[in-house]
C-alpha cells in the first residue's frame, strides 16, 4: 500500500517537474487543448443557460409542465357567467388549485405623454404561479385586491418606464378609457423579454368584471388554463373534459389540450445541445491530435532521460505511468485554464444578456456540469494522448538510451 502511494505521488511529482521544466513546449502544445476545452465548456454552459432561458420563456408564455387550456363554447345563449361557474365547479371537484382564466384585450391607456394602445390581460391570482411570472418591482395580486375600488394592475417594464419608473410605494395611477372613470393603481412590474417594448398590463379578471359594464367581456373568448401534476395530467385532462361537457350541457363544445412546451417535445434545446457538444468534441479531438503529435516527438527527444531514470530504479510501469501522468497533469491544467476562459466568456454581461434575453431572474452561475465536463474531457484527452508516448517510453532500452 505504502509503495502504491509513494509511486503515485512520485509519478505526479515527476510529471509536474517535467511540465514545469518544459513549460514552453508544454504551453504551446496545450494551447489547442485549452481552446478546445474552453469551447466545449462554453458550449455546454451556453446551452444550459440558453436552455434555462428558453424554458423560462416557454413557461412564461404557455405555462409550466403540465398546463392545459380549455376552449369552452357554450350552447345557445349560455352566458359567460355560467361558463365560469362550470369551470370553477370542475376545479373544485378535482381539487385543482392552480387555474386561471385568461382574457386578452387591447385598449388605450392614458400616459402623461399621450395615449398608447396597451395589451391587457385579465387573469386570476394563480396565473403568476402557473406562468412562473417574475415580479421585478412591487408585488403580484394579493387576496383582497379584487375588492379594491381602484383596481390594481401589474405592468410590464415598458409600461413602467412609460410612466417614469416611479416608486410603487407612491401608488402610481393611470387611467384608460376602457374602464371609464376608474383609476388603475400600479402595484407591480413583471419581467418581460427585452424585445417586449410595447406597454402591457395585467388585471384580475374579477376586478375587470366589476368595473366593466355587465356583458362587456362576453365578446372576448376567454382561455381557461390549469396546471396539474404531470404524472396525472393525461388522465385529468380526459376527466375534466367529460365533467365540463356534462356541466355545460347538450350542444356545448369543450376542447381541452396541453399547451406547455412538453406537449411538443421533451427538451426544446436537445438539438442545440447535441449540436454544440458535437462541435466541441470535434475541436477537442483536433486538440488531442496536436497534443499526441507533440508528445510523441517529445518522448523521442527524451529517450536519454528515460534511460537515466531507469538506471536510477524507475520500473517500466513507473515510466509508463509518469509519461502518462505528464500528459494528464498538463491537460488537467489546460482544462482548468480552458474552463476559466469559458467562465469569463459566458459571464460577460453582453453574452449573458444575449443568452437570457432578460427572462432569467438571476442569471445562473457558470453551470458546474459544464466545468466538470470540460475538466473530465481534458483529463480523458490527456490520458488518451499520453497512452501512445507512454508505450514508446516503456520500450526504451536503458542501455542504449543512456549512450545517446
Amino acid at each position: 500500500m505504502t509503495r502504491i502511494v509513494t509511486s503515485v505521488v512520485g509519478a505526479i511529482v515527476e510529471a509536474w517537474q517535467e511540465v514545469r521544466v518544459h513549460r514552453g513546449r508544454v504551453l504551446l502544445s496545450l494551447v489547442g487543448v485549452t481552446v478546445a476545452v474552453s469551447a466545449l465548456s462554453a458550449s455546454v454552459a451556453v446551452t444550459e443557460i440558453a436552455q434555462r432561458a428558453v424554458l423560462e420563456q416557454a413557461e412564461s408564455s404557455s405555462g409550466r409542465p403540465f398546463t392545459m387550456s380549455a376552449n369552452l363554447t357554450p350552447a345557445g345563449s349560455l352566458s359567460r357567467e355560467k361558463t365560469d361557474r362550470a369551470w370553477f365547479e370542475t376545479l373544485e371537484r378535482f381539487d385543482i388549485s392552480y387555474a386561471t382564466r385568461v382574457v386578452s384585450d387591447y385598449s388605450p391607456v392614458q400616459f402623461s405623454d399621450g395615449t398608447a394602445e396597451t395589451s391587457m390581460v385579465f387573469v386570476d391570482g394563480p396565473y403568476a404561479t402557473l406562468h412562473r411570472t417574475r415580479i421585478d418591482e412591487g408585488s403580484w395580486f394579493a387576496v383582497g385586491d379584487a375588492d379594491r375600488l381602484a383596481p390594481a394592475i401589474v405592468v410590464n417594464e415598458a409600461f413602467w418606464q412609460r410612466i417614469g419608473s416611479p416608486d410603487l410605494g407612491t401608488h402610481p395611477t393611470v387611467t384608460s378609457s376602457r374602464f371609464g372613470d376608474a383609476t388603475l393603481v400600479v402595484i407591480g412590474v413583471y419581467a418581460s423579454p427585452s424585445w417586449d417594448t410595447e406597454p402591457g398590463l395585467m388585471m384580475l379578471a374579477e376586478s375587470a368584471s366589476a368595473i366593466l359594464p355587465p356583458g362587456d367581456l362576453d365578446h372576448l373568448s376567454p382561455m381557461y388554463e390549469m396546471w396539474v401534476p404531470p404524472e396525472a395530467g393525461e388522465e385529468l385532462m380526459n376527466l375534466v373534459e367529460l365533467d365540463l361537457e356534462s356541466r355545460l350541457g347538450e350542444g356545448a363544445s369543450v376542447e381541452i389540450y396541453r399547451t406547455d412546451y412538453g406537449a411538443y417535445m421533451d427538451d426544446p434545446t436537445a438539438v442545440l445541445r447535441m449540436l454544440t457538444i458535437g462541435i466541441g468534441s470535434v475541436i477537442l479531438l483536433l486538440g488531442a491530435l496536436g497534443l499526441l503529435n507533440i508528445a510523441l516527438v517529445t518522448v523521442r527527444q527524451r529517450i536519454r532521460e528515460i534511460g537515466i531514470r531507469r538506471s536510477m530504479g524507475a520500473t517500466s510501469s513507473r515510466v509508463f505511468f509518469s509519461v502518462m501522468m505528464e500528459s494528464v497533469v498538463a491537460t488537467a491544467v489546460a482544462g482548468v485554464v480552458g474552463v476559466m476562459l469559458a467562465v469569463l466568456i459566458v459571464k460577460l454581461p453582453i453574452v449573458e444578456e444575449f443568452l437570457t434575453q432578460g427572462m432569467v431572474a438571476d442569471p445562473p452561475a457558470f453551470p458546474m456540469s459544464a466545468a466538470v465536463f470540460g475538466l473530465v474531457a481534458a483529463t480523458f484527452v490527456g490520458a488518451l494522448a499520453g497512452l501512445i508516448p507512454a508505450i514508446v517510453a516503456v520500450r526504451v532500452k536503458p542501455i542504449d538510451a543512456i549512450r545517446i
Binding site: S7, I308, R309, M312, G313, S316
Partner: protein, 241 residues
C-alpha cells in the same frame, strides 16, 4: 557470500544482417561489500556491457549473474529495477544530469523511486548529501551553471542518496581535468568507505584504476587480473607512505 557474482558469463548481440557478435566471454567476477574493484580496458573491449550487466540493466546470454546469491534471470523485470534503485548507484562519464533540473532536483531523482521514509524525506536526504559533497551552496543551480567537477559531484550525491551497496562508476573522471578528477575520486572513495559500499570503477586511466584494491583488465571481452595496474598501485601506495 557475494553481493554480485558473474559466473562464466557470455554476452552476445545480434548485428543486423550479420552473425552474432560476442562482446563478453566467460567472465567470472565476485563483488563483495567494501570491495574496490577497478577494471581497465580499451574502447570496444566490452566495459560498458559489463557495467550494464553489473547494474542489472542487461542479462547475460549464457552463464549466471547472481545478486545476493539469487540468479537475476529468475527475477521479474520490476524486481530487478527495484534492486537497482535501492542497491546500486551509477556514476557516468558524462554525468547524465537531467537538464533544466537544479542540483537538488537531480539528487532527489533516485529517492522518487524509493518508498517509506526515504521517499517522504527525500529533499532533506538529498540536501544533506549535496552538503556532504560540498555543494550546499549550489542546491538551486542548474547543471548548465555548474563546472564539470561540480556536475560530477552532483552525480555522486545522486548515486549515493539511497546508500546503495554497490557503486558502479563508468569513467567517472573521463570528462574532468586531472586535478578535478583526483579530487572527485578522493571524495568518492571517502564517501563509499563511509557507507561501506562496494565500488566498481571502469576506466582507461591507470592512475584512477590504481586506486582500487582489486585490478582487472578487460581485453576483447575477456576479464583477467591486471598485474601491471596492481604493481603500479603497490608502488603508488609506497610513494604515498
Amino acid at each position: 557470500m557475494s553481493l554480485l557474482e558473474l559466473d562464466d558469463v557470455t554476452r552476445t548481440v545480434q548485428i543486423a544482417d550479420s552473425d552474432a557478435l560476442t562482446i563478453l566471454t566467460g567472465v567470472d567476477l565476485e563483488v563483495d561489500a567494501g570491495d574496490r574493484v577497478s577494471i581497465v580496458g580499451r574502447s570496444g573491449s566490452g566495459k560498458s556491457t559489463l557495467l550494464n550487466l553489473l547494474g542489472l540493466l542487461d542479462l547475460p546470454t549464457t552463464g549466471e549473474l547472481r545478486w545476493d546469491c539469487v540468479d537475476v534471470r529468475s527475477m521479474r523485470s520490476g524486481h530487478r529495477d527495484r534492486i537497482r534503485g535501492r542497491e546500486i548507484g551509477f556514476i557516468f562519464q558524462q554525468f547524465n544530469l537531467l537538464e533544466g533540473r537544479t542540483a537538488m532536483e537531480n539528487a532527489v531523482v533516485p529517492l522518487l523511486y524509493a518508498d517509506g521514509t526515504s521517499f517522504w524525506r527525500r529533499e532533506r536526504i538529498a540536501r544533506e548529501m549535496l552538503e556532504r559533497v560540498g555543494l550546499g551552496h549550489r542546491l538551486d543551480s542548474l547543471p548548465s551553471s555548474l563546472s564539470g567537477g561540480e556536475q560530477q559531484r552532483v552525480a555522486i550525491a545522486r548515486a549515493l542518496v539511497r546508500t546503495p551497496r554497490v557503486i558502479l562508476a563508468d569513467e567517472p573522471t573521463g570528462a574532468l581535468d586531472l586535478e578535478t578528477g583526483q579530487s572527485v575520486m578522493d571524495l568518492l572513495d571517502e564517501i563509499v568507505a563511509e557507507q561501506g559500499a562496494a565500488l566498481v570503477t571502469i576506466t582507461h586511466d591507470p592512475a584512477i584504476a590504481a586506486r582500487g584494491d582489486r585490478h582487472l583488465r578487460l581485453d576483447s571481452g575477456v576479464l583477467t587480473v591486471d598485474e601491471a595496474t596492481a604493481a603500479a598501485a603497490v608502488e603508488q601506495r609506497a610513494v604515498g607512505l
